[in-house]
């Protein structure tokens, strides 16, 4: 561990490399986290199956990229978007609809059950092996090979950016986007103004599933997917949203990029097997800091 630390001091380029990798992966985390912020903020649903939606999107991509279809992973993004949207719509009308009005813990536990079902079904279908969808791209070298950036990571960064911009544009300009924002501000007032909040909820949840599906495509290209990796992705989304707050897109992006970088550095210093411990440790840390900040606020109120 100390060897790795001193190595970072000796080779400054390595820091840059880790930082770049972290930022490029963090952009994909931002997508799933934005989806969580959306359903949390609008519907007050704490979706613990978030990471499993991501993994599910990844596995659909993987299936499409295999024979007999042989579809290029990047081309499968629109298909995944539509498929996951339909999946989210179905899920909303069977399960989520019934937990919206209930207490906070209900949605958490119901989506946790959902997460178990999804990960186990994937496990039964594909087995517990690690998979990846090959996009067949090259690795670029800079500074005489000291810094390498895989083209897949650059492309996925750009794609995440495009998807993020499209969603922002949609939320700002479209009629449905305005309805979603109105519902998140005050659902009752929105209902009085003639917004069909039930439809807004269904759309929001489906949109979240679709965004997670796209994040899954990108994850399957640049990283690996495995049936049980979903929980780590869920915890990542929770860390990001808890530290950024909802409705704060810039905050979500910044903390996602930060999380990506921190994970890369801790993976290099402590070893890859501590990846999950790092994410969970960050979660606990963020919650403690949040609590300290709140207790300060509370004293002001009193």
């Amino acid at each position: 561990m100390f060897d790795n630390l001193s190595l970072l001091g000796l080779v400054p380029m390595l820091n840059l490399q880790l930082l770049l990798d972290g930022l490029l992966i963090g952009s994909v985390f931002a997508l799933a986290a934005y989806g969580l912020a959306l359903v949390w903020g609008v519907m007050n649903i704490k979706n613990l199956a978030q990471g499993d939606f991501v993994i599910m999107g990844g596995y659909i991509t993987f299936t499409l990229s295999q024979p007999p279809i042989n579809l290029h992973p990047i081309l499968s993004i629109p298909i995944i978007f539509v498929l996951m949207f339909v999946f989210g719509w179905g899920l909303y009308h069977t399960i989520i609809k019934r937990v919206i009005e209930r207490d906070l813990f209900t949605s958490l536990l119901a989506t946790f059950g959902l997460a178990i079902v999804i990960q186990q079904l994937i496990n039964l279908a594909y087995g517990p092996d690690v998979q990846t969808a090959d996009a067949g791209m090259e690795i670029r070298e800079f500074f005489g090979g000291e810094i390498t950036i895989a083209d897949t990571k650059l492309v996925s960064f750009l794609l995440a950016l495009v998807v993020g911009l499209l969603i922002t544009f949609f939320m700002k300009k479209s009629r449905m986007g305005r309805a979603i924002r109105a519902t998140s501000q005050d659902a009752r007032a929105a209902r009085i103004m003639g917004v069909d909040t039930d439809r807004v909820y269904a759309f929001t949840f489906s949109l979240n599933a679709a965004i997670c599906g796209v994040a899954g495509v990108l994850i399957s290209i640049i990283w690996v997917i495995q049936p049980f990796f979903g929980i780590t992705h869920s915890i990542r989304s929770f860390v990001i949203v808890t530290s950024a707050g909802f409705g704060n897109l810039i905050g979500v992006i910044l903390s996602a990029l930060g999380l990506g970088a921190v994970e890369q550095f801790s993976g290099f210093i402590f070893g890859a097997e501590f990846q999950q411990a790092t994410v969970v440790g960050l979660l606990v840390g963020v919650l403690i800091i949040r609590q300290i900040m709140q207790s300060r606020q509370r004293q002001v109120v009193q």
Partner: protein, 357 residues
């Protein structure tokens, strides 16, 4: 035959059934022991989840901590722990009966009290969190604990520890651990039955109903929350120590800190039985354990899918649980009486009712 007498017969029948069950069904001794442990899990989870309204997903932390503390004490009393764990149990050291039984009793006692202290320390960290943040925070603490113990070589790291062999025949061993599980579950039940008859339960219920108001009424909410959690931790620590010895081998992720199995089972059992009641967790644990064993036997491979589906159905459609449902159906049996005058007055003035909501 008055009600008091009926109650005594009822409890005596349960105790006798508990003692004679492994003798009548010797093939199921292990399963029955796990059943008593599940009852203990559900009862301790309900102290916070049901009575106090704090839904913890990380109570399994104390189960694992108790398991490790008990093991380390048991071994450390007579041997060097680091040397023992370094062999991953390849070198089996035989403990004499005296060493074994003094070790396990000291281990269980120390594990129980140490877990209560751990609960106080972690309570200080997590009890400022409310609602879903508390659930996620405790889940995070439990997962992190498993990962950290896995990296700690002194207690065997990810490779785990083999526990000392029981000095005696296999039949004796099963019966011994069955009795430990049975006694610990019964003690937990008796303790909680007493606890729920004191002011303490009223304070916990006040916290559940409205924490700010409870605080305004002069209840030291933080003190009550921490004490309630350390009660749960005390009994979970004991059950962890027993379970570690019963399986004979412990390792951090699957046995000691199984967040997604036992950690979720305890929540599910309480929800199934009905939270906030004394008997709900017991009934829920029995039904859940039977369902689990059946699905594990006949739906092999699909058991987890069935479990996830059970969670969803339970939470979405049947959240009041069996006891909650029974209370709605036969309120007079539970001593809940509806005041006719108030009820009819409320019916006659719906506007007032609306306003009070």
């Amino acid at each position: 035959m008055n009600l008091q007498f009926k109650k005594i017969i009822f409890y005596a029948a349960i105790l006798l059934a508990g003692i004679f069950a492994p003798i009548v069904f010797p093939a199921y001794t292990f399963q029955l022991a796990v059943l008593w442990m599940m009852i203990l899990f559900a009862l301790t989870w309900d102290i916070l989840g049901g009575q106090m309204g704090y839904n913890s997903l990380g109570n399994i932390l104390f189960f694992g901590a108790g398991m490790y503390i008990c093991t380390v004490v048991q071994i450390g009393m007579y041997y060097d722990v680091a040397e023992y764990t370094a062999h991953f149990g390849a070198v089996k050291i035989d403990f004499t009966p005296y060493q074994y039984f003094t070790g396990i009793s000291a281990g269980l006692v120390i594990a129980a009290f140490a877990c209560a202290i751990i609960a106080v320390i972690f309570g200080w960290i997590v009890f400022g969190l409310r609602g879903p943040y508390f659930a996620i925070g405790t889940l995070g603490v439990a997962i992190a604990a498993g990962e950290l113990v896995g990296a700690w070589d002194y207690v065997g790291g990810g490779g785990g520890i083999s526990l000392p062999n029981y000095p005696g025949g296999p039949g004796d061993r099963e019966m011994f651990f069955y009795m430990l599980c049975f006694i610990s579950a019964v003690c937990t039940f008796i303790f909680l039955k007493w606890l729920y008859s004191t002011r303490f339960q009223l304070a916990l219920n006040a916290i559940r109903d409205d924490e700010e108001k409870a605080e305004a009424m002069g209840i030291h909410t933080n003190r009550y929350k921490t004490i309630a959690w350390s009660f749960a931790a005390f009994f979970l620590g004991i059950s962890g120590g027993i379970f570690g010895n019963m399986t004979g081998f412990i390792e951090p992720l699957e046995v000691a800190f199984p967040t997604v199995t036992f950690g979720i089972f305890m929540v599910l059992m309480v929800l199934l039985g009905g939270k906030g009641t004394l008997w709900g967790p017991v009934i829920g644990a029995i039904i859940f354990h039977v369902i689990k064993e059946i699905t594990w036997t006949y739906l092999l491979g699909w058991q987890w899918v069935a479990l996830g589906a059970l969670i969803i159905i339970n939470v979405v459609y049947f959240q009041q649980g069996i006891m909650g449902w029974a209370q709605e159906k036969w309120p007079e049996f539970f001593g809940i009486t509806v005041d006719e005058a108030i009820a009819s007055a409320e019916e006659n003035s719906p506007a007032e009712k609306e306003a009070s909501l």
